[in-house]
Amino acid sequence: MRTFTERSDTRRVDDEPSMPTRYPDQVLEEFAKLAEECSICYQCGTCTSACPSARDLYRGPRRLVRLILAGEIDALFASDDLWRCTECGACTTACRMEIDVASVLARVRALERIHGSIRCPERTAAEAAARRLERHPRIENVLFAAAMAARGHVPRDVVGAAEAGMKIVRTRLPGPKRAATGASPTRPTVTLPFYAGCSLPQDGELHALVHEVAAGFGVRLDEVDAGCCGHPSRGAVPTHFTSDERVWTACPACDASLAEASVDTAPLWDALVERARREGFALRARSASFVPYVGCLADRDKAIAALGDAAELAGVDMQVAYPGLHNACCGALGGMYRGATKGSKRLLEFAAQAGAPVVTPCVLCRDNVRSAARQLRLSVPVYFWPEFFRAAEPPREEASDA
């Protein structure tokens, strides 16, 4: 087999004016291993076709794999697309040659983190997050955004960022506190362990809303404070969960990362819908129809199906064009929001035409798609699940303990 050292030696001088970087043997060995794993790739491009982020990538998984095969470490370590992979695994599922593409790219990222110097917001975000996480278990968006801004990365959706910042500041100021977390239960109550992650606690109103909506279903949320979920874009080590019990989450990123760490998690919305179905009560929705949206972090097919279930219980119309439309990239590309994508544009245009709001079970997606709508000047409301669905008012006489 040709090794990477040979590749560097045999390159013609006029190929590239500058000398190729010499990497430590360990890196070359790891790349040789990766190349061997990918050697049966025949560049069909099915991975890129499947990649939800690739609509906006210059180099999709296929081209990144090609660079591995060509031994172009320099080019790989210069491609910021590497950091826009969300490890959703669609490429691995689609691969005709059964190559674990997602894992290959993750390993390249691990190498790049040590030996490369890509300057892109996603990587910087991951790096800054990792550093902060060493000290604090949770990312704080205000500080994070400030850190990013200090490095020259101003979010494209400045208005949105300012709004979010103001909101966070408001929750920190003295005044009307968070709504009581245990809104008066009107139904038989169960208690579920709940992991809020890093996004919810920064938006006090939303956080309170989640508790309130859950309470409407007769669900009391017992918050597990277990630190960072360890999402890859944050680059942190998953923290320890002490209990084997299933933990319910409000964020698909938490879901995905905790699953990696073998923690049994599921979206809170599933529990709520399931409870409504079991207890025989309906859901109430904000409007008569909606357009579902699920980003890359969630199990997309399942999450859209779950939205369908909620729609059925609420008696509202879920408007679906074709699945790929409803799981395009929200614009974060797995890292930091970078503006509307072709995918979010198509989604929002569809919603605008249908005259229905977009509903998503992912709080990150909500913010990003909302920003995209603002950027594209499309007046489409974008709702997070609990902002759209609620339990219908229970008939009084039914109240008894389950």
Binding site: Y42, T48, S49, R59
Partner: protein, 822 residues
């Protein structure tokens, strides 16, 4: 040996004085100790041959040993005498001795003496009786598609009786049922006729070649079992009744009155499918209620319900499997939305096209945009890992047809690679591009559907490196082709092997494309892998002549089959599992058979079918009891080894097969590439004949190194000889390591292209085994001078050290080809 009537005769040839480094007086004197020596300057000359003929005719029982050129060379030179019954053992003192050694007359002569003595004392047995003398003149052909029917017609024309067995009621197979076919763009219903006129083709129903008096068609018939041996198979057949007799005039009254629907939509219990001109209608026995309405309605009384299934036996000398292939099952393409409206396969599109043609005539366009997805479920490790070869051309054919019918239709072909390798195929690709068909390199992982149920395809346009979203009205999946599911059962019945994809395994993909792994059983057409009609037709003709040759060449073997010594066989199954031709079976040991002491009353005994055995010797090499006698007996091999190495200081021993390695070594000898005299070579029929015993014995006799040279990798003429040799080499290595006698052992894969390098390879091995650093350094310099090579000393050593054979470089004989990067 001293008996005058059996005393061997040695014909000593000096090859017109080209062997100056041999002292022929001394050689003759040595040979005279064992045999009568007749010296000649040039035996293959006119006078020599005349003299040889005299000796042959006067010879009687006296064995002949020819000492001169290699067996390869001598066989060709004495071809005419061979045909007249000349049998002789050959001692190769020319390419194997004189020509490859230097001027040390003493050493070279002593080697020649050893070679002659070994040939005199340890000849291999020759076939005096032929293993089979007659072959049944009947050929059974399974499958009445284009392949089977054409082969049947041609074989019948060649003068053999043909039994053509077809599972369905109608001949014609898949080709007859599909529309137009590439590359001719006409229907697939014609066969070449076998009459005098060149280039004539006719539809099945008009083709009288099928009506040859010696060609018997068995419809609705399946093969139940096969027994017997090549040349004389006994085949049990089961035939379902057709119920509709030949009297049928195709009026269709029966179908009109039939009240029973059949399982296939649109069919009734009495139906017609494809008109092959002989049987018009048939009855679906599962659907028929036997009400008899049709029989009453039939104006010509062609329906006979008294017919019943029958079982018959036919005898056949050869069998041809022509069972074709079928489209991949639906579940392989469900991930691409198959089953949903707006997604069809190419086969279904072909069925739709006639209706679309009519729509086109009315000025309608049934679809605005059509996307064809190539490699749907193919070249995919999760479904079909292989390329079905036809789908690209089918897509081009259909795409062009669509563009012709509907010039404004957008037709996109999503492809991975467009494989248009075939005579004239590339022109189709060109024509399709000209016709405005769009080509998008890339395939989607899924087909999605929008709210209106219209397909949406998201695919990377690989060449443009961007994603495209296509919204066609129709998605056409180019599905692959798979072997029919009945193949497994058929393979079991016929005793043939299937390849990893389930198609019939071909004996040799390069040279014997119509032979299966079982002798006397042949294959043609798509049974052995998807093929276009053009290739199927060629194969049908090819198999016809192969079968003809087989039936006409009774007794073509010149080596006797191996024999099991009943007194030594313990009935283990080593030989029967190792035999590459399934020639060995274990039978219950007859009560009166001799048996080894450890075998008590019950027990098995290995029996070799001499009609199937090809005398490779793999069984003999692997038999743990040395109970199998091969025509190169163990004693003969060990005796040769002892004779050849006698009096040699640290010999290098090489075992080589007489096929590819033999070709390389004897051609290398003619090239006069030198190697040291202490190299002693033992020729075997196949490298599989070598056993650990032989290797250990060579080392015991003082060998400094042993090499085993066989055919090119995976190209053993006896299929598994190289694998067997590798295993025996491993065993020998273990034994030698235990005895602290380890010497370099190597296995090489050679073929005729290595003729220029084999000498150097042997030299290098000898130098390494004897730690001759000087020679090694010289060899390295020699290689450098050959130029273009970047081999370092370390690479040379790594190449030579490797225990598995590496494909040698034709230029230098060492290292991996990859080392030759410039």
């Amino acid at each position: 040996m001293n008996d005058a009537s059996t005393r061997p005769r040695v014909l000593l040839c000096e090859c017109a004085g080209t062997m100056t480094n041999i002292d022929f007086h001394r050689l003759a004197a040595h040979a005279a100790e064992q045999a009568d020596v007749v010296r000649g300057a040039h035996w293959c000359g006119r006078e020599g041959q005349a003299q040889l003929l005299e000796i042959m005719e006067a010879g009687g029982e006296r064995p002949l040993v020819f000492a001169g050129c290699s067996a390869d060379f001598a066989t060709r030179r004495f071809q005419k005498l061979m045909a007249r019954g000349l049998r002789m053992e050959v001692a190769d003192i020319r390419e194997g001795c004189s020509w490859v050694h230097g001027d040390d007359v003493d050493a070279v002569t002593r080697k020649a003496m050893g070679l002659v003595e070994a040939a005199v004392r340890y000849p291999s047995t020759t076939a005096e009786t032929l293993s089979h003398s007659t072959r049944e003149n009947t050929v059974l052909i399974i499958g009445g598609g284009v392949a089977g029917t054409q082969a049947a017609a041609e074989i019948a024309q060649m003068g053999h009786q043909v039994e053509l067995v077809e599972r369905r009621p109608f001949l014609g197979g898949r080709a007859a049922r599909i529309g137009s076919v590439f590359p001719t763009n006409d229907c697939g219903q014609c066969l070449p006729t076998t009459d005098d006129q060149a280039g004539v083709r006719k539809c099945f129903h008009r083709n009288v070649a099928i009506d040859h008096p010696d060609l018997h068609v068995w419809r609705r018939t399946t093969v139940e079992s096969v027994s017997g041996r090549p040349g004389d198979f006994e085949v049990a057949l089961r035939r379902l009744p057709n119920m509709v007799t030949d009297a049928c005039v195709n009026c269709g009254t029966c179908e009109t009155v039939c009240p029973e629907p059949a399982s296939e939509p649109g069919h009734k219990a009495i139906f017609h499918e494809y008109y092959d001109g002989r049987v018009v209608r048939t009855i679906d026995l599962d659907a028929c209620s036997f009400c008899g309405v049709c029989a009453e309605a039939c104006p010509v009384e062609a329906i006979d319900f008294t017919q019943s299934p029958e079982r018959m036996t036919v005898h056949a000398g050869a069998i041809v499997a022509a069972t074709g292939c079928v489209p991949a099952p639906d579940e392989y393409v469900e991930y691409l939305g198959y089953g949903h409206d707006g997604v069809v396969t190419q086969v279904e599109l072909a069925e739709m096209l006639p209706a679309w043609e009519e729509q086109a005539a009315l000025g309608h366009m049934p679809a605005r945009e059509v996307v064809m997805v190539q490699c749907a479920g193919s070249r995919d490790r999760r479904y079909l890992p292989y390329c079905s070869r036809l789908c690209c051309m089918i897509a081009l054919k259909h795409a062009m047809r669509l563009k012709k019918l509907f010039p404004r239709m957008k037709v996109t072909i999503c492809y991975l690679e467009l494989r248009t390798a075939g005579i004239g195929y590339e022109n189709w690709f060109l024509a399709a591009r000209r016709a405005g068909v769009e080509f998008l390199r890339g395939t989607p992982p899924e087909v999605q559907f929008d709210a209106d149920g219209r397909p949406v395809i998201e695919v990377e346009d690989v060449t443009a490196a961007r994603k495209s979203v296509l919204r066609p009205d129709l998605v056409v999946l180019s599905t692959g082709l798979v072997p029919p599911k009945e193949n497994t059962a058929m393979a079991q019945i016929l005793g043939i092997e299937l390849d990893e994809d389930g198609f019939v395994e071909i004996l040799d993909r390069k040279n014997r494309a119509t032979e299966t792994t079982a002798e006397g059983i042949f294959v043609c057409g798509s049974s052995a892998g998807p093929k276009a009609l053009i290739e199927v037709s060629t194969e049908a003709s090819a198999v016809a002549s192969e079968v003809h040759n087989f039936l006409r060449s009774a007794g073509r073997r010149s080596t006797p089959a191996s024999v099991v010594d009943e007194a030594a066989c313990v009935g283990c199954d080593v030989c029967s599992t190792m035999c590459p031709f399934n020639a060995i079976t274990l039978v219950d040991r007859p009560d009166d058979a001799p048996r080894p002491v450890e075998v008590k009353d019950e027990g098995k005994l290995a029996v070799i079918d001499e009609g199937v055995c090809r005398a490779c010797g793999i069984c003999a090499a692997n038999c743990p009891e040395l109970a199998i006698a091969h025509n190169q007996h163990d004693e003969a091999i060990l005796g040769r080894l002892a004779t050849l190495t006698d009096g040699v200081e640290r010999p290098i021993v090489g075992f080589y097969c007489k096929e590819c390695a033999g070709a390389a070594i004897s051609l290398g000898g003619q090239h006069k590439d030198k190697y040291p005299e202490n190299v002693r070579l033992v020729e075997l029929p196949c490298l599989g004949r070598v056993s650990a015993l032989h290797i250990v014995e060579a080392v015991r006799l003082g060998a400094a190194g042993v090499f085993l040279a066989g055919c090119a990798e995976d190209r053993c003429h006896y299929r598994t000889g190289d694998a067997s040799a590798a295993e025996q080499k491993r065993v020998a290595e273990e034994l030698l390591a235990e005895a602290r006698l380890a010497v370099p052992l190597e296995q090489w894969h050679l073929c005729a292209v290595d003729r220029l390098s084999v000498g150097r390879r042997i030299r290098m091995f000898a130098a390494k085994a004897t730690h001759d650093d000087e020679t090694l350094a010289a060899l390295e310099r020699e290689l450098e001078q050959l130029g273009g090579h970047c081999l370092s000393h370390a690479d040379v050593m790594a190449g030579a050290d490797s225990t598995v054979g590496v494909a040698p470089c034709a230029g230098c004989g060492g290292g991996e080809p990859v080392a030759h990067v410039h």
